[in-house]
């Protein structure tokens, strides 16, 4: 076997980019996730469930487009850092800028928080991605690490908000919602924490991990954080509106009749 396949992937397009193997697999997995969610959501009439499906279909849908663009080398640029030229897939940030706030919107809708809280959460998240992108395109190590730190602090704020305010709000909506919310939040906490770690050890940071392995790991994180997240969310009864939840609504009706 070609040693490069063991180290970093396989150059599918013959343009000297072994990471195209992982980008191609990422495109396929995101597409499969998108079509699975479309089929699963076809004909859903529940008002709240429709909102979750709209968001959850768009997330892997746009991510598959971003992966396809990276597969073909669109949105790939070279940035000079010191005396070294780095390959930066900046289309990755376009994907994250669009999709990560929508994942948070799913969680905010689940917790049923007010629109100001949704706006704050989405705003800090967007700031996290934009500052990460500025860091990725910066030319000096000091600037890169400073923007990375800024972006990571934004991420900690988002995760703290999820684990405290939103979690408390979700708990008030009953055990079904609380259970689904806790599972999804745990997934987000673990996966999102891995992103800045991978960035700092990858080619955009210290360069301990090569571009092929980095692309593979980002692909695994992206697919799990988007398709895995959507799969857990959409199979839960917690996404159904109050009128569709069988037992609690029936009990509530009976109490109301008394």
């Amino acid at each position: 076997m070609d040693p490069i396949a063991l180290q970093a992937g396989y150059d599918l397009l013959g343009d000297g980019r072994p990471e195209t193997l992982w980008l191609g697999i990422g495109t396929l997995l995101m597409l499969i996730g998108t079509f699975y969610f479309i089929v699963k959501g076809w004909g859903v009439t529940d008002k709240e469930a429709r909102e979750y499906y709209s968001i959850t279909i768009l997330v892997p849908g746009i991510a598959s487009a971003a992966y396809l663009s990276m597969f073909f080398g669109i949105g790939l640029t070279e940035v000079q850092v010191g005396s070294e030229m780095l390959d930066i897939y900046y289309a990755r940030y376009a994907d994250w800028l669009f999709t990560t706030p929508l994942l948070l919107l799913d969680l905010a809708l689940l917790a049923k928080v007010d629109r100001v809280s949704i706006g704050t959460l989405v705003g800090v998240d967007a700031l996290m991605i934009v500052t990460g992108l500025i860091g990725a395109l910066s030319h000096t190590p000091l600037a890169r690490y400073t923007w990375w730190l800024f972006s990571t602090i934004c991420m900690i704020v988002v995760l703290y908000f999820l684990a405290t305010s939103l979690r408390a709000a979700a708990k008030e909506r009953g055990p079904e919602v609380a259970s689904t919310f806790n599972t999804l939040t745990a997934l987000v906490l673990v996966l999102w924490t891995a992103y800045p770690i991978l960035w700092i050890v990858g080619t955009e940071g210290a360069g301990v991990v090569g571009l092929g392995i980095e692309t593979l790991l980002f692909m695994v994180l992206d697919v799990t954080a988007k398709v895995g997240f959507g799969f857990i969310l959409l199979r839960s009864r917690a996404i159904l509106g109050d009128t569709q939840a069988p037992e609690p609504s029936a009990g509530a009706d009976a109490q109301a009749a008394d």
């Binding site: 487009a65 971003a66 289309a91 376009a94 989405v122």
Partner: protein, 74 residues
């Protein structure tokens, strides 16, 4: 006793559905079209900021239109 009242499924707001479609197109333009545009100066910054702005706009639009996806009941 069986409840015989039938609930009408909530009505989708056409404007929001069209808005979502426009947001998807905007996001795709940001991902595919902007990076391929050639600038006279050859600079990266304009492309990168335009791409980021389009993705932000598309994301903001999706948030707005999803929160207003259905007609309000009278």
């Amino acid at each position: 006793m069986t409840d015989t009242t039938t609930e009408q499924p909530p009505v989708l707001r056409t404007r929001s559905v069209v808005g979502l479609a426009v947001c998807v197109v905007t996001a795709l333009v940001g991902i595919f079209l902007i990076p391929t545009l050639q600038e006279p100066g050859g600079g990266l910054n304009v492309r990168f900021w335009t791409m980021a702005a389009l993705e932000l706009l598309a994301m903001g639009g999706v948030v707005y239109f999803v929160l207003n996806l259905h007609e309000e009941p009278n």
